[in-house]
């Protein structure tokens, strides 16, 4: 059982606050839901819409297709979305909503409560029990919600789409909160940043958390400064990170290379949005994989994660700090606007332990770049013991002093690149979903994971053989990661939110694997289940030949 609702209106009309109010109450009532938004890069006006899917089972994607209900706060919503209303769907027109607002002014002397009243209407439609509602809401809000129930009764909408609340104890997260929390769990105590959608809310979360935790957020004058500050803090002994979007990351590239050369641990979160240049600032895309894979001049190792679920986002971000330290490299968490702004439930427990940062005790003989059997030089920080910590952006000798000794250069390059072997051994394997015998496999990375998995369910329900493989780590890739799946013998469909099939190209480069088909989308919006399902179906139907 499911119910999907779209709330649309120009920025400032309250569609966003309705989403927040509704999802907050749904969470309190233990409802399964998924909420995401589509908004313009402006503070007032334009057209924004918020999409909420409520169900009696766990949901983590937009279904696509038609809406069960549309709340049109303005005419634009009517024009754009009404055609997508399910034929027995419910429609709240701008006129009707105007009525509600007028009555709210009369009855409560406050028009702004009309949004809460509309939330009440939605709750009545899914047949929320008013007593349970009363138990979980603040009393001052309750009367407005109750007014909504009354309207629903009047309009004969109450209980039309009854949904039982079946979720257990859970957290609600959007992708950015998951990443920010993951960073704290990874022991990150320093973040520097310059605001840029869709990464800004990671900074907000971290800065707020730092008010009461031993952590610091610094707003830098630009992204170049932000990453160099983070490298300074990391050198000084504190686990550090930056978060930005593709454009800001482009500015950071020289310092990524600096991290590579100086072997300074750092975690870099890149939230993708459509480019090039400023592109579509508030929309989504997976167009920066290549940027992140190849960012920074010169050759040095790196890890790139691309989490597909809230749990995975928390885990890989947390792990990033450990790996950045262990291998003294930059580690990336690659995400996107869709994941950043989508609100999801997580029922699993959160890991709450914070691994302590390890560093050695050294005397004056310490050499920051000592060539070791293990391939990893010992890491320590200035001012703790007698060791002097000297790090250099120029090629350097073991002590960290500039060198132009070209034989030593070879050994230093070998040392840095030698870490790749270790990184591959540590790589997180992809997640397989479905029947391993299925002849078709849908490959995805990053935020598409759960959309693809639901599409697979839908295909399988129609006896179309399909399975899914999701890469939460996109670099480095190793043969061990794909060995269990006999990909050579399967129809591979690579699903990506970009125009250039960047991950498919990487698979080809790394494994010589050729994707049979690519499903790409690059209009700035995320995929829906319906979309992937129908495109796969079309691709697999016998008439289609490539």
């Amino acid at each position: 059982m499911e119910f999907s609702v779209l709330i649309g209106g120009e920025a400032g009309l309250g569609a966003f606050s309705m989403e927040l109010e509704l999802t907050d109450i749904l969470s309190r009532l233990n409802y399964y839901f998924f909420a995401t938004k589509n908004y313009m890069s402006r503070v007032r006006g334009g057209h924004n819409f918020h999409m909420i899917r409520i169900a009696d089972h766990s949901v983590h994607a937009l279904t696509g297709g038609s809406w069960d209900m549309i709340v049109a706060l303005d005419e634009e919503t009517e024009i754009r979305h009404r055609v997508h209303l399910y034929d027995k769907g419910l429609y709240l027109s701008p006129t009707l909503i105007g009525e509600v607002a007028r009555e709210a002014r009369e009855e409560f002397h406050d028009v702004t409560v009309s949004n809460t009243i509309l939330v009440g209407v939605i709750l009545a439609i899914i047949d929320v029990d008013t007593e349970r509602l009363a138990a979980v809401t603040e009393s001052n809000k309750l009367k407005y919600l109750r007014r909504g129930f009354k309207y629903a009764g009047q309009w004969e909408m109450a209980g039309i789409f009854p949904i039982p609340s079946k979720a257990g104890c859970h957290y609600i997260f959007d992708g950015n909160k998951a990443i920010a929390l993951g960073s704290l769990l990874g022991g990150c105590q320093f973040m520097a940043g310059y605001p840029m959608t869709p990464a800004t809310s990671i900074m907000h979360y971290f800065a707020t958390a730092a008010m009461s935790l031993p952590a610091h957020f610094e707003q830098a004058e630009d992204e170049i400064s932000a990453i160099n500050m983070a490298l300074g803090a990391s050198y000084a002994g504190v686990r550090s990170m930056v978060a930005t979007a593709g454009g800001g990351f482009a500015l950071m590239q020289e310092a990524v290379s600096l991290a590579g050369m100086t072997e300074t641990p750092i975690v870099i979160v890149v939230g993708q949005r459509p480019g090039p240049a400023t592109g579509l600032p508030t929309r989504t895309e997976q167009g920066d994989l290549n940027l992140v894979l190849y960012a920074g001049h010169g050759e040095f190792p790196r890890i790139v994660f691309a989490p597909g679920t809230i749990g995975e986002a928390i885990d890989v971000t947390r792990k990033s700090f450990e790996l950045a330290d262990r291998y003294q490299i930059p580690v990336f968490v690659l995400t996107d606007q869709y994941f950043a702004d989508s609100v999801q439930l997580m029922e699993e427990d959160l890991p709450v332990s914070v691994p302590a940062r390890e560093y050695g005790i050294f005397d004056r003989a310490y050499q920051r770049y000592a060539l070791m059997e293990t391939g990893i030089s010992p890491l320590t920080f200035p001012g703790l013991f007698d060791a002097m910590v000297r790090v250099d952006s120029d090629e350097h000798d073991e002590s960290g002093t500039i060198t132009e000794d070209l034989d030593l250069r070879i050994r230093m390059v070998d040392k840095r690149l030698g870490k790749m072997t270790l990184l591959k051994k540590d790589a997180i394997p992809p997640t397989f979903y479905g029947d391993s015998e299925a002849g078709t496999i849908l490959i995805s990375w990053g935020s598409n994971r759960l959309i693809v998995e639901e599409a697979v369910d839908k295909l399988v329900a129609e006896r179309i053989e399909a399975s899914a493989l999701h890469f939460g780590q996109v670099y480095p890739l190793s043969n061990d990661m794909i060995a269990p799946y006999q990909l050579e013998s399967k129809t591979i469909i690579c699903v990506e939110n970009n125009g250039g099939a960047q991950f498919a190209c990487l698979l080809k480069k790394e494994f010589g694997l050729h994707a049979t088909h690519n499903i790409l989308k690059y209009n700035g919006e995320c995929f829906t289940v319906e979309e992937i399902y129908s495109r796969v179906k079309l691709l697999l139907s016998p008439e289609v030949e490539e």
Binding site: S225, L231, L350, D394
Partner: protein
Amino acid sequence: MIKKTDITWCPGCGNYAIRDVLEKVLHELPIPRKDIAFTSGIGQAAKMPQYLEVNYFNGLHGRSLPLAVGIKLARPDLTVVSYSGDGCLYGEGGNHFIHAIRRRLDLTIITSDNQIYGLTKGQSSPTTDFGVKNALDPRGNENIPLNPLSLAINMGAPFVARGYAGDKDHLGGIIREAILFKGTAVVDILQPCVSFNNINTYQWYHKRVFKVDNTPADRYEAMKLAEQWGDKIPIGIIYRDDKAECRELAKIFREPLTEADIREHLAMKCVMMR
């Protein structure tokens, strides 16, 4: 120990004198060497930390200050000095220079100002005088030079000084005061470049520099002094405000995040616990 023969500066370069001064000052300071961290960018001057007994992070061209800011924020217990050339600090890193001062941190920012790009062999820097000819400005520099001292005062730096590599004792006093000063201290050092700047030579500076005996307490007076350039060039502490307050910094390094912190955080913050 650093052998003089390993140093890559040209014979006669003003940086040698500055290095001697720095070694002496660092030796005399009541701060253990292990607690001193230098950052630098790229250029001839930026090699300075390599030739000193200190911790250092020799970073990218223009980026010595963000590194210094990051180190200080993470570790207020360290004495942090950013060292670079005029091209590095005022050109490539000009934005950082402006904003690092605004952060009100206890940092020392020292520049070997040779009014030229040394390492890249003689192009105009932000402090090159108007009309000076060189390889990339064959018709003469068309730009007005940047005045680091008045800019620093304008941005709110509470300690602003100019030293001269040709007067070691005087320079030593300034650097010592700057490092001990609680707050952002900016020291621009006139540094003759014998290879690429044949205008601002030792003789040229010798004829012009004069010592400031009384540091103005008034910011606008200091600004006037800072603006002096040409026939008479003031050296010494141009502005000093001992009342300016530094920013309070949280202890983070000595207090790593713990499980208890996370539990408390989850109970009270944005993440909804149910």
